[in-house]
Symmetry: C2
Subunit: 603 residues, 2 copies
């Protein structure tokens, strides 16, 4: 059995729940079948297991170093990424026009989750490259696609996203990197520095294309004056010569985890590599002038879902490791066994250990399900038969994105912590991989928009947009699930349906009350609590969906254990987790201003 | 201002709340005064700041190494510990008969918290030594006190506690280390290995006295057959010569944090250092034969409270660091400010950042208060005027110990995580100390009895003991606080009192129901949830206590900000935290058996 992800679970989610096979009736996916999907998943599992997982510990221990201006990484990273590209996985979800497999995104992401589970540090390079390529495919000119995307598809060029600067992280509108147009107007020279650039420099690929947010002088202030530029590390000089662009590494960040991903402070245009005798990093405008934020959000939204999936993948592999440990570690006896000479039992027999394992299972498998659901919505938004269906999928994706990013980041971090706890003292040592997974997973509530940013996005933007239509759509989907559960004539389903129905109603009530509060400070004071509450309702709904499928397919006697596990995890979620939503919504509803009125001097 | 602990807060807790000055009327503390207490606190703050804090980062980066069988630590550790001992701090709480200061324990622990906050890795050595000395003072013979405790008081000998073995951690009754009596019966030879031994070997002191649990062959099985032995690294040979005892380091553990504390697997009696030509570590019985568990619990109970205090100290220093960062980091603007050209505001102005800071404040300051309250109970148990008062203090201490250990370990870890979150990406790098504090703090829910063990201790032993008397005592104290709050004629106090009263009543109700369930598996299935719920009720009570004192002393205009901060943290706790208890108690009351009935095969 794989210690990365449960293949049985992925099959359950993709085929039994999301029914991705039905997508093969659509033109874009018509060359596919369950067999081709399975073949890709097997390839991913194999490469992740054989090429990515083995150096995860080494990449953690030997973090990237800057030696004579060159970023040094463990030698295993490059061939692993070559294997990824050679298997065609960079373009797995892309169109045939760039040599892509045209896989549904749910299948692509399920496959990619193996790499995230195996070695998130190494997986970040293709993650960013795929995101950059997709952005360029959506916003780049044909020439730009040819120049930048084509070498990305073969793994010869990698991509990055350069948003933050030292003084501007969450507040991206405050960036100060400038892009000055050349006299001819077809190129720009960039000046400024960018912080937290994952994959910012390395020798893993022949070139790196940085997608950089910058301001063209004279534009409007704030985010409205931001444009997007493609700035390659190497540009083409006279006669096709490779010329070093004026981009250089100022320093590397030393992180708690995620150490396999080089993370750099980059200087653009500091004159270290002048071109035609002048300082300034040469870049090309991508998309419209001052349209940088919109274009970057294309990549950002995809990245947010993948960050959530990464947290889920780490939670999943940590769960599988702690389960294996719990099955093999004898300690203690059954309660009431007073004979100290009887053999010890494996700790998986203890209720409290099962509680920790069930929590991990509910968090990790629920989060993977949510991630694939969102990926499926991307396909729906792109290929559903009617415009109405495509628009609904877009709205659902908009409202679910902050949840798909933040919920796994919070709860699968907690799950990874429980994986350590199951191991006891051993889990706190670097001899067991759960220690690293915990450190890796601590990044996820921070990057690609902190928890607080996701909360503002949900309550300040996604919920109120179009008169609350996205939330109505989401509630309608939940009510449809509830109706199906009510139609199942057993007591358990009725009870779960009733519990979810009550929470969905409360969520609607509280949302209306909060949005009606008028004052934005009051509305958003407890946005983080609202995000958490909504996330828990979404996950309860997800678990009810999964339980319905499990109940339906339970008859397959050969793996009834699998389905019973799903039902137990669903019961766990409804008994231990969903009730937490009650006090959260009560707090949000009360429009409590403890945090707003708190004064700095009182701390 | 100190970045370790708030001295203003310690003064508030010790003098305004616990009124430790009143202890000076008792004989044991009669030579003391507020001036002597303050002098000790200042000494602790100074030595912690000047000698412990500066090498915390270095100790984390240069973890203990075994070089030619010698444990190598950063050179700053030894002089720091010498400064600690020279200031008389090893014996701060001990009696004059061993040269001690006879400080009340609340003052001693408040002082020690500075060291835990400054550098928990280095502070562990005196922590263990003081614990070992106190155990020997309680259970050792006069000769043993002279031989082992006297050199501990001057810092020449350090102590350890050796309970766990590789196959026996939580299940201590399963240890297999043997202690074989010498033919004369006055000494023993020990054989076996001990895991997770903090301070297990080093060159920091002239000698190390291991307090080792072992079984004398022929005794009863399980914990009833366990005895305690003092096993020094160096013993006195013929003519007073120093002879190496047969104890050796097999290996060091490589931990996520707490790296400054060497943590070893020790072999006893593996024949590496034979004595009189024979293998076997020479040890002396401490206390009664087969009375090892009782004696070790003397040390363990003290260690549990100190572990909780250590978690609180880490939470406190992390809070102070993130507060300083939030005050100095400009990012974003006030909600509704649409002019992007206005200057950014410090993030402490944002409600969501204030929420994270208030949570940290409520967790850390609440946990410090609980730790000092327990320390105060130790003094009461020892020196209160009546036997009744002493017995009540003992019972309260018994029931509060699992909470004082587990609550800070869980919530101040979360607080440390929030400290990272306030720092954003910077907090995830090793350039900021919150990163290390988070890793350090992850140990606390594991060592000295995991969360699950504390839960069983609370619900399986402490609550039912003496017919539930300890819980009645605790509830009586809470009701007294509630009555005082009700007597304050403002709306806020009335509301807080009412909320706590309702939760105390619910806790009593649910406890009776659970204990009445009969089947121990059902009773204990959700012991961990019960522990968390009870902990939250205890902390709400603590915060109400603190708020009452703050309200009373608010008149002191010169630092009304301090008191307002206390009131705000109390309001935060009652608005954001206490309501979480509702669903927890409902779950416990439901006697839910999801975890009990879960089968291994379903995972």
């Amino acid at each position: 059995m794989s210690m990365l992800l449960s293949r049985r679970d992925l099959s359950f989610l993709l085929y039994e729940w999301l029914d991705v096979e039905s997508l093969t009736k659509r033109e874009r996916f018509s060359l596919h079948s369950r067999e081709t999907f399975d073949a890709v998943l097997s390839t991913c599992e194999r490469i992740a297991t054989e090429r990515f997982a083995p150096h995860a510990k080494k990449s953690d221990e030997e973090e990237p170093k800057l030696v004579d201006d060159v970023v040094v990484l463990p030698r295993e990273v490059k061939p692993a990424l070559a294997a990824f590209a050679e298997a065609g996985l960079v373009t797995a979800g892309m169109g045939a026009e760039v040599g892509g497999m045209q896989l549904p995104m749910a299948v692509e992401k399920a496959g990619f989750a193996y790499f995230l589970a195996a070695n998130v540090g190494t997986a970040s390079y293709p993650l960013l490259t795929i995101g950059a390529a997709n952005l360029l495919l959506a916003y780049g000119s044909e020439e730009q696609i040819e120049r930048y995307v084509t070498p990305m598809t073969t793994g010869h060029t990698f991509g990055t996203m350069c948003l933050s600067e030292e003084h501007a992280g969450s507040s991206v509108g405050d960036i100060s990197t400038r892009a000055v147009p050349s006299p001819s107007g077809d190129r720009y020279r960039l000046f400024g520095s960018k912080m937290w650039i994952s994959g910012g420099d390395h020798e893993l690929s022949e070139n790196i294309v940085h997608l950089v947010l910058a301001k063209v002088p004279g534009g409007p202030p704030g985010t409205k004056g931001i444009s997007l530029f493609a700035v390659p590390k190497w540009i083409e000089g006279a006669g096709g010569a490779r010329v070093r662009n004026d981009v250089s590494v100022v320093g590397l960040n030393h992180k708690m985890g995620y150490r396999g991903t080089v993370n750099a402070l980059l200087a653009f245009g500091d004159g270290k590599h002048t071109i035609d005798g002048e300082a300034g990093a040469v870049g090309e405008l991508v998309g419209e002038l001052h349209g940088g934020m919109k274009a970057m959000f294309h990549m950002m939204n995809e990245a947010r879902i993948t960050v959530g999936l990464g947290a889920a993948a780490l939670g999943s592999t940590a769960f599988l490791h702690s389960l294996a440990y719990a099955r093999s570690r004898p300690q203690g006896r059954k309660l009431g066994e007073r004979d100290a000479t009887t053999p010890q039992v494996p700790i998986v027999a203890h209720a409290d250990v099962k509680r920790m394992l069930l929590a991990q299972k509910a968090y990790a498998e629920g989060a993977i399900a949510l991630g694939l659901y969102c990926a499926n919505l991307v396909d729906e938004a792109r290929t559903a038969d009617t415009e109405e269906a495509r628009d609904e999928a877009k709205r659902l994706l908009e409202i679910l994105t902050p949840i798909a990013k933040s919920w796994p980041s919070q709860h699968c971090l907690e799950g990874t912590s429980l994986a350590i706890q199951v191991h006891g003292g051993y889990g706190y040592t670097r001899d067991y991989p759960v220690e690293r997974m915990y450190r890796d997973n601590r990044l996820n509530p921070i990057h690609e928009g902190t928890h607080g940013i996701q909360a503002m996005d949900l309550l300040g933007r996604k919920v109120p947009m179009q008169g609350g239509r996205a939330l109505f759509d989401l509630a309608a989907r939940m009510r449809a699930t509830i109706a199906r559960a009510l139609a199942v004539r057993d007591e358990g389903s009725q009870r779960l349906a009733g519990a979810l129905e009550a929470m969905v109603a409360r969520l609607g009530e509280v949302t209306a009350k909060v949005l009606g509060a008028g004052d934005p400070e009051k509305i958003l004071a407890n946005a983080a609590v609202y995000l958490e509450a909504t996330g828990h309702v979404v996950l309860a709904w997800t678990w009810l969906e999964l339980a319905l499928v499990a109940g339906k397919n339970m008859g397959r006697a050969e793996d009834s254990d699998f389905y019973r596990g799903k039902l137990a995890a669903c019961r766990y979620f409804f008994a231990y987790e969903l009730p937490k939503v009650g006090p959260m919504l009560a707090l949000v509803e009360s429009l409590d201003t403890t945090t707003v009125t708190m004064k700095d001097a009182w701390f």
